[in-house]
């Protein structure tokens, strides 16, 4: 069994969101970078659990990014995985990133490709589906459980108002969300081991992005809270009904 987990670098959840260059670039000044939580807590940890259960499982990690993504991929390797690839490209859109990963995947012959359900910066929720579409692999999005049977994966995915259980023969692509696994903290042994695990830098294959960000915009600030005394709940209901017109 050969598994690939796609890893993205994202700003920390508390990072200040601001833009430079006439609102065309994300302001990275002072930003701490983390592994995208969905990639780490759910996709990667579930893959590590599968390898723990079957030690002959081969577990690779891949990211698309510049050299500034190396610390992130090393951090992911500290949690687990045998080796990693970094495709040396600052991806301009999701398709461009998916295209690079799809080439790596078709060469690598993976049985299972895992991504997070979305990144917390661009929130595209498209990477897994695009990889599946490019390589004509079956796709299961928003998975909350993943088990491996003889020659197929048994995956539970969230649907509107419930869940469904799917069975899919290998190879396939799965996007992971809450429920798949519990977040882990890397230990000292993992951190030491990660330093010597192979990290190969792969040059990208030419593919233009299909979309271009032309500008960013911050939402208008809130006017301020209107406080109502705790014994005046009727007044709150009146305001919601007559002023805000939401009741």
């Amino acid at each position: 069994m050969k598994i690939l987990v796609c890893i993205s670098k994202t700003p920390d959840t508390t990072a200040k969101i601001a833009f430079t260059d006439n609102n065309t670039k994300f302001d990275t000044a002072g930003v701490q970078w983390i592994i995208n939580p969905y990639d780490e807590w759910y996709a990667l940890v579930r893959a590590i659990e599968l390898k723990e259960a079957k030690p002959d499982t081969v577990l690779h990690l891949a990211t698309v990014g510049g050299a500034d993504a190396d610390p992130i991929i090393r951090k992911a390797l500290a949690l687990g995985g045998d080796e990693a690839y970094r495709i040396n490209l600052d991806g301009a859109d999701c398709y461009q990133v998916a295209f690079q990963l799809a080439q790596l995947i078709s060469k690598g012959g993976y049985d299972l490709v895992l991504t997070g359900k979305e990144t917390i910066d661009y929130n595209g929720s498209s990477l897994g589906g695009m990889i599946a579409g490019i390589n004509y692999l079956p796709y299961i999005s928003l998975a909350t459980h993943l088990e491996i049977a003889e020659n197929k994966a048994i995956v539970t995915r969230e649907i509107e108002g419930g869940e469904e259980v799917c069975e899919v023969a290998f190879p396939l692509v799965v996007s992971a969300q809450k429920g798949m696994a519990e977040a882990r903290i890397p230990n000292m042994r993992g951190i030491m081991a990660a330093r010597t695990k192979p990290l190969s830098v792969v040059e990208p294959i030419a593919q233009d992005p299909l979309t271009t960000v032309t500008a960013f915009e911050l939402p208008a600030p809130k006017a301020g809270v209107k406080l109502v005394a705790p014994d005046q709940v009727d007044e709150l209901v009146r305001l919601l009904h007559q002023e805000a017109k939401v009741l």
Partner: protein, 320 residues
């Protein structure tokens, strides 16, 4: 060239988010001076002509004698095929759980640029530029689609629903489908009957409630308000509430008309999932709780006193 709108159904019933995407697609078609065509794959018990009320001209009902395919790749193939026969160069999806699984596959199949999480009509004055939510609702971006075929998925609760259009023509069509590779063996509904992402009103509670045994009053308030229930992450992590109620940066992102937050501090990761709500009401006993900075209305008080009074006051207003 026309606009194709993919209509989301669950067990043959059209979802509320579909009325928004149909309205969006119809308005976009009017802006471009073309026709709006709705696409509904699989069997349905609904009367389709009346979908014209949202402003669309035509519905293509594909394979009406089969249940809607479970495999997103199969659905993607049907969508690409109808887009081509109906001469559509814009395809509109809902950014729902189902849209999230299908739209990227269509994008890859057609090599067509996809923008997800869209919050408004495109600017078609100079190219085709759409506005979408990014950084978990903390910002927006404007994205130009560079390819001849353009794919958009519209955030639920971010587009107004049209009314008053005349009936649409309905055409049924049988199309061959690719062999499914995803086999669904079981499907189950969660207890939360109102869909969180589609709900107009959401009542949400956090660690301030102390324990799962205290959720009765939250459910009661939600019931009288006709609201869905949600919770903060530690509440779901502690299994006080199911995972699918967890809202925030690492849970579900929602944009209801009214969000009521009870005993939730308002951490930045929580706000990220709810800051697109139109009106936010915060009930918290700590006047310094950060959530008050993001709120429109607030009560500094103990949830155990305020929530029952709130329920009674809403009941009084609604005359129940």
């Amino acid at each position: 060239m026309n606009v194709l709108i993919v209509i989301d159904t669950a067990e043959g019933i059209i979802k509320k988010s579909a009325f928004e995407t149909l309205s969006y697609g119809a308005d976009l078609a009017a802006q471009l001076g073309v026709n709006a065509v709705g696409l509904l794959p699989g069997a349905t018990s609904e009367e389709l002509g009346s979908l014209g009320q949202y402003g669309i001209n035509k519905i293509v009902h594909v394979n009406p004698d089969q249940p809607r395919a479970d495999d997103p790749t199969v659905l993607a193939g049907l969508i690409a095929s109808v887009a081509s026969t109906e001469q559509c160069d814009v395809i509109v999806f809902s950014h729902s759980l189902s849209g999230k699984s299908i739209a990227p596959i269509v994008s890859a199949q057609l090599k067509a640029g996809l923008v997800t999480g869209v919050v408004g009509l495109p600017d078609t004055g100079n190219g085709f530029v759409v506005k979408r939510a990014v950084f978990s609702g903390k910002a927006f971006s404007h994205v130009r689609i560079e390819t001849p075929i353009k794919l958009i998925s519209v955030n639920p609760n971010s587009y107004k629903v049209n009314t008053g259009g005349s009936p649409a023509t309905v055409e049924t069509l049988s199309l061959p489908t690719a062999a499914p590779r995803v086999l669904v063996t079981k499907r189950q509904k969660s207890s939360n009957e109102l869909l969180l992402t589609e709900a107009e009103t959401v009542v949400s509670a956090g660690r301030g409630l102390k324990g799962p045994e205290n959720w009765g009053m939250i459910e009661e308030l939600a019931k009288v308000m006709g609201a869905a229930t949600a919770c903060s992450r530690p509440v779901a992590d502690a299994h006080w509430r199911p995972h699918n109620e967890h809202v925030g940066q690492t849970g579900v992102a929602i944009a209801p008309t009214l969000y009521v937050a009870i005993g939730i501090s308002g951490a930045i990761q929580h706000l990220a999932g709810v800051n697109r709500s139109k009106v936010i009401v915060v009930i918290n006993k700590d006047p310094e709780a950060p959530f008050f900075k993001a709120a429109d209305y607030g009560i500094v008080g103990d949830a155990f006193d305020v929530v029952p009074a709130f329920t009674a006051a809403v009941k009084k207003l609604k005359g129940v």
